[in-house]
Symmetry: C2
Subunit: 358 residues, 2 copies
């Protein structure tokens, strides 16, 4: 019976199939495919031809077992905080999209791990590094003092973070210049005459939340004005949070006349709250938002934004991780993006405020 050959033609060809087909040994086949210089050009040609003819594809599991590599790049993704399916984390689609594009064509597969809390994320990161579940790691939501960065830096496990911690460590990262962005937004509002500016911010555990406060405060300092620190709200970046904090802030004795918003889902909540309060944007209150998924242009009314497409950051994250896994030095793999200011409003309440303030 030709059972053997029939079965073999069903299954995908292995290095052994190639050996039988070409007459070379499996060791030579492997070297030829890996581009080792010890095999002659002629044999390599023959082997490559046979590989193409049979549609040979290296078995990732065999390679992985022998080399200890996994050919996996893992991304830590925050699971939506779930309470009532509140809208947050939408930008992750574009982050993943960017990373996926960068990894496309490489030998690496993109895998995703969800986490529910920071401790959860730490535990997963540790497990991935200790057990070598992946060859590299990408994560975001960096804290001022981030245990993941400390741990991975020490163990030498390749990773790229979206965001910088506040410890003096050397590691590959991609970030947005949040200090600059918050400063730009706040300074613009102060120049427009505003003195009571709110900052709808992320939780202050996050490093970038602190960066934004820094920029916010610097803008006031540079203008010689006391910063409205009592108008800084911190929370999850859901739409509900944007709405609730706006309602609360506007209920204060000296409510804000302008708001700086940390992301687009929060902004939607802010706008919703302002509408509910009967306040007109550009008339009774000004709003400047940060946008990384290009949606603010469709808000009504359109608001001034600091725009940085996050897909670009995602792509860079993937590129950096590839280079890191190829042996590049982490110190060289850092980039901080400065968003673009898109002015859609005058942000001076139609000039009214500048008159009342000297």
């Amino acid at each position: 019976m030709a059972e053997g050959s029939t079965a073999a033609s069903q299954l995908s060809p292995t290095i052994k199939t190639l050996a039988a087909h070409t007459g070379f040994s499996i060791g030579t086949i492997s070297k030829a495919l890996r581009g080792s210089p010890v095999v002659t050009e002629q044999t390599r040609g023959a082997i490559l031809a046979a590989a193409k003819e049979l549609g040979y594809q290296a078995n990732a599991r065999g390679m992985a077992l022998r080399t200890g590599k996994t050919y996996q790049a893992t991304v830590l993704m925050p699971l939506t905080s779930a309470a009532g399916y509140e809208w947050d984390g939408v930008e992750y689609t574009q982050i993943l999209s960017g990373i996926s594009q960068a990894l496309d064509g490489s030998d690496y597969q993109l895998s995703v791990h969800g986490y529910r809390s920071f401790d959860d994320a730490c535990a997963i990161a540790r497990r991935v590094a200790d057990q070598k579940l992946a060859d590299g790691l990408i994560f975001s939501g960096v804290l001022a003092e981030d245990a993941r960065i400390a741990m991975l830096t020490q163990s030498g496990f390749p990773f790229v973070s979206l965001g910088r911690c506040r410890e003096p460590l050397v590691y590959a990262h991609v970030d947005v210049d949040n200090e600059w962005a918050a400063h730009a937004a706040t300074a613009r509002l102060i120049a427009g005459g505003h003195r009571r500016v709110a900052l709808i911010n992320a939780d202050q555990r996050f490093s970038y939340a602190l960066d934004r406060i820094d920029g916010f405060v610097r803008a006031f300092r540079e203008a010689g004005v006391d910063p409205s620190l009592d108008l800084i709200a911190g929370g999850d970046l859901s739409t509900r949070f944007g709405r609730d904090s706006t309602l609360a802030l506007r209920g204060l004795p000296q409510p804000p006349t302008a708001l700086v918003c940390v992301n687009e889902s929060t902004t939607l909540g802010v706008l919703s709250a302002l509408d509910a309060l009967g306040l007109g944007v550009g008339e009774d209150v000004d709003v400047i938002a940060y946008d990384d998924i290009n949606v603010s242009a469709y808000f009504t009314p359109p608001v001034t934004t600091l725009y940085q497409p996050i897909e670009v950051l995602g792509r860079r994250l993937g590129e950096f991780l590839l280079r890191l896994m190829a042996g590049d030095n982490a110190a060289q793999l850092t980039e901080v993006f400065r968003p673009q200011l898109i002015a859609r409003q005058a942000d001076n309440l139609g000039g009214r405020l500048s008159r009342s303030h000297p």
Copy 2:
């Protein structure tokens, strides 16, 4: 030198370490860990204790090589169509979140493959199945005649689709009752007096776009009214598409007095266009949207929605895939969700239309 033992204590323990530690052979260790009935309860206890003591974790690559399984569940994710980073695909965060939650605790890892076109998705699906790059597959964006479903059904590769094709095939799937949803929205508008209703729909290659048209038409038929087929727009589900198609439709000689929108990013574009045209929602035009990420509540003005949290569908997708990979029958693994109607407007233009139409 104690080099050997030192190095061994550094590396994670293997089945050999356990063998040396307990005195049993590696075969027995493997059987004990896998719960085989041939090993006595006493030895299993000893081995389990040693495994716990040494922190043993099975090496996935070794298992994968031997068993041919990969312990990977792969999701096909559409890459954002990218032209100008238009906002779309945001719901994928929640789909992945749901799947990740379902896979949590199982032996399976979630991996993500991005694709740029339907052909791309087909090629990837075929590669995953042929080369057994994963043990199961999840995908969405099902076409009326979907090559992936046909191919995977035939090859018997485990998969769950988000959406149903229009061919009479038996396969595991999760879906929304789009026909019902479109019917509910359209019928409500017709009951409110509308006769010129627009349907801002997905591209008609997609099966669910056809389902919505079916429901849309049925509502008209049941009311004894000619369906406004000329007001059906199909396109990508970006915000820009919502805006552009609304502007175009309202430019017609007999413009729609109401719009049914296919998802929330499109709805945002629709609302933006209506605002730009100076049309008030609930006054000059009514809008009913489909929402799967719980954001419509914050639109201003709020619109009536058909709400179905997509994270729930994601979780079910993961559950179904796990059961499928465990050997369950695909015929049993189907569920169609019916969204919830959340009426935030009267959707009858304040009663004005019902007066003019009998």
